[in-house]
Symmetry: C2
Subunit: 222 residues, 2 copies
């Protein structure tokens, strides 16, 4: 245990104290996320988090009332970080189909880079509280994909179609292909760029039917 | 409570007794499945199962050691019934792409007919024991889809590609589109044939890139 503990009464906190508290909170979240990426949710114990963060187990509970609350926060921050990466990738000029493909590609690439963390975030059995966070984050991915497609329809790039349903198909295809069967094999057992190409191609092909004439689609592989 | 209870010692069982035991076991499974289709896993209670099956709560535990064991069996039988329907739909002469489309279509149609049961089977948070049954059943769908595509490659209908990955994309797209967002809306809130066409079309389009020349693909909607 190092540094001062959070005081019991909030009015005593100076800006410097608040900064240190926020830093320690981040350290606990980071240590937990790294552990999950190594051993999955089921392997995480408060003792291991404390060891990794260089604090006592008791200190964890000064920041998070329960381990479930800590996991939920790790879940939320990790999933929102993934979402932010896809939003950033999609934030570019050009055809909306390409914006969507970029968002999908970044999502898959990042997941395959840390397959065990991806598996924990997407598929590991979790408590109802964490499941609710998972569903909320998945819903945000749906919304992102659906919004890009709505923009594409508004721009005349696609004929109108059920973008919400398409977003569900895309999210489901990606998540299942990411976690299954790759959760069980070694990280480098398959050629990742080939996997990424396949998944992006699969999802984009599902939209080709709705492209207006001349908007272009996926090419057949050589 | 009606009829004799299962005797404690198996050697006393006559063929007639065994038939009655098997029948009552099926009644308990059916009552549980119907309850799940009405109120989801979380709403099921042993009292409700007993009421629906016309037996006492205690009788349930003569057939299933725990409610979890009962749920796992309901899960397995319901999922295998869905699988059997897809296997049967795919068991026809003709192009393998059409066999796959038929298997996919039956899967989606049946799920949309009982969306709450589908949601329970596919997505409702469950215990690790039942999650293991869920994963096993999902794996069998993967295998079915992958095998049809392998046959299609062997028949020269598709160029070689990663059929296991394609099967994961298809299963994921269907499952997510079935449960989200339709689990939350009324059964008839959307036009089901349109939903089915969309999902089948999405999955089959993802395979068009791999069709050999002349094997045909999906048509653009009018």
């Amino acid at each position: 245990m190092s540094g001062p503990e959070p005081p019991a009464l909030a009015y005593r906190q100076t800006p410097e104290t608040r900064r240190r508290l926020a830093e320690r909170r981040m350290m606990i979240l980071k240590a937990t996320r790294e552990l999950i990426a190594e051993v999955g949710f089921r392997g995480v114990r408060s003792r291991l988090v404390a060891e990794k963060a260089g604090i006592s187990e008791g200190t964890i509970y000064r920041y998070f009332p329960t381990m479930t609350a800590l996991y939920a926060e790790v879940f939320r921050t990790a999933a929102l970080r993934e979402l932010a990466a896809s939003v950033e990738a999609a934030d570019r000029p050009g055809p909306h189909g390409e914006r969507l493909a970029a968002a999908v590609q970044v999502h898959v690439e990042r997941a395959l880079r840390r397959p065990r963390l991806a598996h924990a975030l997407l598929a590991e059995p979790v408590s109802p509280e964490i499941e609710a966070v998972r569903l909320d984050c998945r819903h945000r991915f749906h919304l992102l994909f659906s919004e890009i497609l709505q923009d594409g329809i508004a721009a005349g790039e696609f004929i109108p179609f059920d973008t919400e349903l398409a977003a569900a198909c895309i999210t489901g295809a990606l998540d299942e292909a990411i976690i299954w069967p790759f959760a069980k094999v070694a990280d480098d057992a398959r050629d990742k760029p080939v996997l990424v190409d396949f998944m992006v191609g699969f999802c984009m092909a599902g939209l080709d039917r709705f492209r207006t004439a001349g908007a272009g689609g996926l090419r057949r592989p050589a």
